[in-house]
């Protein structure tokens, strides 16, 4: 294993471990409000300062990591599998199937899903637990986020269908199912890994934006997305650089995922 991949493993393990040990590591609960110390800078008591209502930012980063680190990759996996199934299969079958699947994909890409999400929120009870709310959010993101990769996978699978080795395998009498899973799917992995890697931060950020619809993580539970929304107060960020910590953490985690995936990409290549 290369040095960077080892480092990535260590980083991810540390981050995950720290988030799971938040109960012990965090100086206070994520909801505890220090109302006399709002928007405080970093100090010995509050390592990353406090937010606008006095909650310890370090605690919120730790607890928020749990939600985002566990659910975002799960949602990314779901969207990747759906993309593989719809795009890959359509491209492999070709002809009218590919055309229909891609028309549906393009349509799917263009619709204002905002209203579906609003309706989903309306169907959920107001007193739903924060965990259920965030689970439903990431599930919806996973179910809606497959379209871009499906398009690329369809084209890639189409190219493979017409390639020499696939033709030879078909001529040799290999059944379609085996041909698809053993010979076509492995060659789709570069796109699948790219899709998975891109989806993680995209879903984390989308979860925060869905807060505007009542979905996502409910107060006072934190998530990376809600912490990243602090960056929108750009005017003052130059004087409060500690607010960049969630962003740096996200970049580090996403990059670590990429180093882990790059081994798989090399093997796939």
């Amino acid at each position: 294993m290369s040095f960077w991949r080892k480092l990535a493993c260590v980083v991810l393990a540390l981050v995950l471990g720290a988030s799971l040990a938040a109960n012990w590591l965090a100086p206070a609960g994520y909801a505890r409000q220090y109302r006399d110390a709002t928007n405080a800078p970093p100090s010995r008591t509050h390592w990353l300062g406090t937010d606008e209502i006095g909650r310890d930012r370090f605690a919120r980063v730790l607890y928020g990591t749990r939600i985002s680190l566990l659910l975002a990759p799960a949602a990314a996996l779901l969207s990747t599998l759906m993309a593989a199934l719809i795009g890959g299969l359509a491209g492999y079958l070709g002809g009218i199937w590919a055309r229909m699947a891609m028309a549906v994909t393009d349509l799917f890409m263009s619709l204002p899903w905002l209203f579906l999400l609003i309706t989903a929120r309306a169907l959920m009870p107001l007193n739903v637990s924060p965990l259920v709310s965030v689970f439903v959010t990431f599930l919806l993101l996973g179910l809606l986020g497959w379209t871009a990769a499906a398009r690329v996978l369809c084209t890639t699978a189409g190219s493979l269908r017409a390639s020499d080795f696939v033709r030879q395998a078909r001529a040799a009498g290999l059944p379609g199912r085996r041909l698809f899973w053993v010979h076509v799917v492995p060659n789709l992995k570069p796109v699948l890994y790219a899709q998975f890697w891109i989806s993680i931060p995209v879903f984390i950020l989308s979860e925060a934006n869905l807060g505007i619809l009542g979905l996502g993580v409910a107060e006072p539970m934190p998530s990376w997305g809600s912490l990243l929304r602090e960056l929108e107060g750009l005017v003052s960020l130059g004087e409060e650089p500690w607010k960049f910590v969630p962003l740096i953490l996200l970049v580090v985690v996403v990059t670590s995922f990429q180093f882990l995936l790059s081994r798989q990409e090399e093997l796939a290549a």
Binding site: R35, E52, A122, L126, N127, I212, G214, P220, G233, L234
Partner: protein, 550 residues
């Protein structure tokens, strides 16, 4: 006896006369030009104006344009809150409150040169009172069934008679911008200090000085001083602040508290805290009998003891201090103390006393069990508070209230929704438990809130459209509001509304939280600005402002 002027004329040689006249003209021209060279004022509107028709205004952006371009018969001075002559030199309201007569200025023209007369006022009123108009301005005058009669006595005199008394009749004309009956430019021909010169949808609106504006200053110079006003459409407050700091904007109305504090450190002369505004933020519970929430929750919410206990368990000082950084005051009742005429000064703010709140709940049958409050039937006290997403003050207040109520064993779920979804729950499905919203008070007169306090009204938020008042105190409020609306005696009206405020504080259908301060920022290049609490806050005296070269 010759006048000084005549003596002066005779003593000057004819050629000297010509020079004198030329110099006088030049001086007058220069003085005129210098006095009127007031620069361009720039600020943002936070949404696209929906209309330029002053009679159809029902959003803030259109209201701002109406204020700057519309000529009104009388104007509420935003600083003194007193009524002042506008296009009307004088006016008289009849004793029964049904008729108002105006004596108008003569020699006034619209921005396209069309002369102004009483016919235009009559035309405007007829348009305003058209039943098909459905505007908030028009509806404010609708006190009863029947037609409004206008009588043009002369080109400068008009009387208007309403079918029923209209409380605060004269002050309502502050919102009625007069339209021209004859101008081909229709609503674009205006009588105000500025006129719309250019409009780029989604981007900017440019207002230019109205060359026919009737007002002059004490020295006889024509107003406004400003050459133009540029209004940029920018909903995002962060971007607005960035641009103000870069010098691209001259004013910010309703400044965020964080930005106020930051600017106050670096440039204290630019920020203004005019004190408590008329606006309030409140929490209320769903008391609608037909709502789909569980019956045991309806019982809680319909209990005044429960509501008072919740009110007592909320730390309003912390709301003011933490959420608004001290730029807000704990609310007392429906009206802010800034409303000098109508605020009931006998009322005191609700004190924060969670122990007392818990005692009251326990006396009412609630009990604490393992840190959770339960009612007499064993139901855990859990409810949701919804508020509109994107309003960070309300979101933060909700989280603070969630924490406050947790201390007395009540679990609160905070849900932020997009505004249309929230309104739908509030006014149609009634599928909510508690809401935090605010009331933006543009009127000083309580009659403007008639539809909030009457139990039969749509805006009686906690339990709208009641066929008959469901509680004795709501019946009493109905009676008092109708009494004050039909009286022209200010003292009697005040007494009635004072009692309304007392009942509201006793029963807490609205749990009033805070009154925000009116915060604004004004660039050093702007001269003459005196921000106030009444809208439009910073540019209420736009015709007197100047902007120096940058």
């Amino acid at each position: 006896m010759k006048s000084h002027g005549e003596k002066l004329k005779q003593s000057i040689h004819p050629s000297g006369k010509a020079v004198a006249v030329a110099l006088f003209c030049l001086g007058s021209f220069l003085g005129h030009a210098l006095a009127q060279d007031g620069g361009e004022l720039r600020f943002c509107l936070h949404s696209e104006p929906k209309t330029f028709d002053p009679l159809k205004v029902d959003d803030d952006a259109s209201g701002a344009i109406r204020y700057l371009t519309g000529g009104v018969l009388v104007r509420v001075n935003r600083q003194t809150q007193e009524l002042e002559p506008g296009l009307a030199m004088s006016w008289k309201v009849s004793k029964d409150g049904r008729q108002i007569s105006f004596r108008l200025r003569s020699g006034v023209s619209f921005s396209d040169g069309t002369p102004f007369s009483a016919e235009d006022v009559a035309y405007t009123i007829q348009q305003l009172m058209d039943p098909a108009l459905h505007s908030s301005t028009g509806d404010s005058f609708r006190s009863g069934a029947g037609n409004v009669e206008t009588k043009v006595i002369s080109p400068t005199q008009i009387s208007i008679r309403f079918p029923a008394p209209v409380a605060g009749l004269d002050r309502l004309f502050d919102y009625v911008a007069i339209l021209s009956e004859r101008s081909p430019k229709r609503e674009m021909a205006v009588l105000g200090p500025f006129m719309v010169s250019d409009y780029k949808p989604g981007s900017t609106i440019l207002l230019k000085r109205n060359p026919y504006y009737w007002k002059t200053d004490e020295q006889g110079r024509k107003l406004p001083y400003l050459d133009s006003i540029r209004l940029d459409i920018q909903p995002n407050r962060d971007v607005e602040m960035l641009r103000f700091k870069r010098g691209e904007l001259d004013l910010i109305n309703s400044l965020d508290t964080e930005y106020f504090d930051k600017l106050a450190v670096t440039s204290p002369q630019l920020v203004h805290d005019a004190g408590a505004s008329l606006d309030s933020e409140q929490l209320w519970f769903n008391e609608v009998a037909r709502s789909p929430i569980p019956g045991y929750k309806k019982n809680w919410f319909r209990s005044a003891i429960f509501r008072r206990a919740i009110s007592e368990a909320i730390n309003r000082d912390d709301l003011s201090r933490v959420v608004f950084h001290g730029h807000a005051q704990p609310a007392v009742g429906p009206f802010s103390p800034a409303n000098k005429i109508w605020f009931n000064s006998k009322l005191k703010p609700q004190s924060y006393n969670p122990d007392e709140a818990l005692k009251e709940l326990q006396a009412d049958g609630f009990r604490m069990e393992n840190g959770a409050l339960k009612d007499k039937d064993g139901n855990e006290v859990v409810f949701s508070i919804i508020t509109n997403a994107g309003n960070k003050y309300r979101e933060r207040m909700a989280v603070l209230i969630q924490d406050d109520l947790q201390k007395i064993g009540i679990h609160v779920n905070v849900v932020t929704l997009d505004f249309p979804s929230l309104i739908e729950r509030m006014t149609q499905s009634f599928d909510y438990e508690a809401i935090i919203l605010g009331l933006t008070n543009v009127d000083l007169d309580p009659n403007g809130e008639m539809n909030v306090w009457l139990s039969s009204s749509e805006n009686h938020q906690w339990n709208p459209q009641q066929k008959a008042p469901e509680t004795t105190w709501e019946a009493e409020i109905d009676r008092l509001m109708r009494a004050q609306a039909s009286s022209s005696d200010l003292k009697k009206r005040k007494e009635a509304f004072d009692r309304v405020q007392e009942i509201v504080v006793e029963q807490e259908p609205f749990i009033f939280l805070i009154n925000k301060n009116a915060l604004s920022a004004v660039s050093a290049a702007v001269h003459g600005a005196a921000p106030v609490i009444l809208l439009p806050q910073t540019f209420w005296n736009a015709e007197w402002l100047t902007v120096s070269e940058k």
